[in-house]
C-alpha cells in the first residue's frame, strides 16, 4: 500500500520528476524531495499562508495539496522570483521598505503578491489589503508589506527597467 508514485511537473520553468508517496504534501515534496526549502511551513492547516506557491499561475496553500496532485502542473516558488543576482521588483520593494523582520512569512507573502499582481496589476490599496489579509505576519504589523507591494506594482507596471543589485 501507498507505493511511491512518479510524477513530472515544471518547477520555476524547469521540468522535474519526483517519486513521492501519495500522502506527501506539495510543500513537503518541494522542500524534501526537490530541495527547494524557500517555501516555508507555518501552521500546516491552511491558515497562515507561509507555504503559498503558484500552481498554474494561481496562489495556493501548498500544505493543503498533495504533491501527486501537481503531476503535470506548473509550480512557481520563491526561488524562481529573482533573475540571477537581480531581485524581483517585489523582493526589492520588501528589501527597501522593511517589508520583513524575521522573514519566515516572506516567501508566502511574495508568492501571494506575485500571483495577485500578475492577475491584476492595478490593485487599489483596499484590494492589496484584502489580498494580503490571507497571510499571517507576526513581526511587521503589515503596513510595510502593503507599502512594498504597492511600490512593487508601480515598478512592475513601468516595465523591466534595470534593477539595482543587492550589494
Amino acid at each position: 500500500m501507498s507505493d511511491k508514485i512518479k510524477i513530472t511537473l515544471t518547477v520555476n520553468g524547469t521540468a522535474m520528476t519526483a517519486e513521492v508517496e501519495p500522502r506527501r504534501s506539495l510543500a513537503d515534496m518541494l522542500r524534501d524531495d526537490l530541495r527547494l526549502t524557500g517555501t516555508h511551513l507555518g501552521c500546516e492547516h491552511g491558515v497562515c499562508g507561509a507555504c503559498t506557491v503558484l500552481v498554474d499561475g494561481k496562489p495556493v496553500r501548498s500544505c493543503l495539496m498533495f504533491g501527486v496532485q501537481a503531476n503535470g502542473a506548473s509550480v512557481r516558488t520563491v526561488e524562481g522570483l529573482a533573475d540571477g543576482d537581480r531581485l524581483h521588483p517585489l523582493q526589492q520593494a520588501f528589501w527597501e521598505n522593511h517589508g520583513l523582520q524575521c522573514g519566515f512569512c516572506t516567501p508566502g507573502f511574495l508568492m501571494l503578491a506575485a500571483g495577485a499582481l500578475e492577475e491584476n496589476p492595478d490593485m487599489t490599496d483596499e484590494e492589496i489589503r484584502d489580498v494580503l489579509s490571507s497571510n499571517l505576519c507576526r513581526c511587521t504589523g503589515y503596513q510595510n508589506i502593503v507599502k512594498a507591494v504597492r511600490l512593487a506594482a508601480e515598478v512592475m507596471k513601468a516595465g523591466p527597467a534595470p534593477q539595482a543589485t543587492r550589494s
Binding site: 501519495p22 500522502r23 503559498t52 496553500r61 493543503l64
Partner: protein
Amino acid sequence: MRPFEYTRAASPGEAGQMAAAPDARFIAGGTNLLDLMKLQIETPDALIDISRLDLAAIERTDDRGLRIGALVTNADLAADPDVRRHWPLLSRALLAGASGQLRNKATTGGNLLQRTRCGYFYEPSARCNKRMPGSGCDAMEGINRMNAILGGSSACIAVHPSDMAVAMRALDAEVETLSADGATRRIPLGDFYRLPGEDPSVETVLAPGELIVAVVLPPPHGGWQTYRKVRDRASYAFALVSVAAAVRLEDGLMRDVRLAFGGIGTMPWRDQRVELVLEGKAPSDKLFDEAARLLLQEARGHGHNDFKIPLTRRTLMAALRETTASFEEETSA
C-alpha cells in the same frame, strides 16, 4: 498521515465506481480533506482524484438559470460576470468564505461537503458523535460558543461551516449527481443535508460513490440581494451568524422573499415560514422583528452560544433593511 492508495480518475463514471468501495473518498481541491487526514479524523484507504475531470464549466441553462460544474473553483465562481450580475449574493458569500489561496483550490461540489469546524470534532481525545458515532458530545456542556442554536439534537450541535451553501440555499440550488451505477439525479439543496438526529456522522443523502457533477441555479431572482456575515474579525473567519437575503419590491410590497442563514444551524438553514411572514407586505421594522421571532422561536442556546439568538435577530433585521432600502433608492433615482 496514514498511507493510502491514490488514483487519478479518467471519467466521472470511473470515479464513482472506484469511490463506491468502503473507505474510499473523492478528492478535488482537498482544502478540507487534507487537513482532516493530517489529524487522522478522516483515514481513507483510497483517494480518487477527480480534480482533472471535465466538470469545470459554468453554463447558462435553457431557462436562463446557471449550471455550475462541480469542479468550478470558488475563485472562478465568485469572479464569473454572470454570477456577479445576476446572483450577487453568491459571489459575496464566496468572497467572504475563505482566503484567495483556498478559493483558488476549493471547488463548488467540495464546498457543499465541508465538514464542521466544531472544536470537539477536531479533538481526538474528545467525545464526538460525528467523528465516533455513539461516543457522546462534549460540545453540549463544553465550550460551545461557535455551535448551533437551530437544528441540533441531543447527539450533536455542530454548525455547518459553508458560506457558499447558505447562498445556494437562498437561491434554490439543486445538486446534480452521478451514482456509482451510472444513474443521475437532481436533489434540491433543501433535501440534500440531513439533520444530525441520532447519527450526526451521516451529513447528506449522498450514497457511497455518488459524485456531485454540478450545481444548478434557477433563473435569476431579480430583486435586491445581500450576504451579511458577522464574524470575530474583519478578515477570514467562520461566521458567527450570516444571512443571505433576496427581496423584490413591487408597489412597495415585498415579493419572492428568500432568507437563508449560516453559523447558527446544523445545516445551511432556511425556514420558509419566515419568508411567508414577509411575503406581500410592506417592509417595516415591526414586521422584520416578527419574522425574526418566528425564525428563532425554536432556537436553543447552550451557554456560550446564547448570544447568537439576539445576534441573529439583529443581523436578519439589518439584512432586511439593507435589501429593502437599496431597492427604494434605485426606484426613486
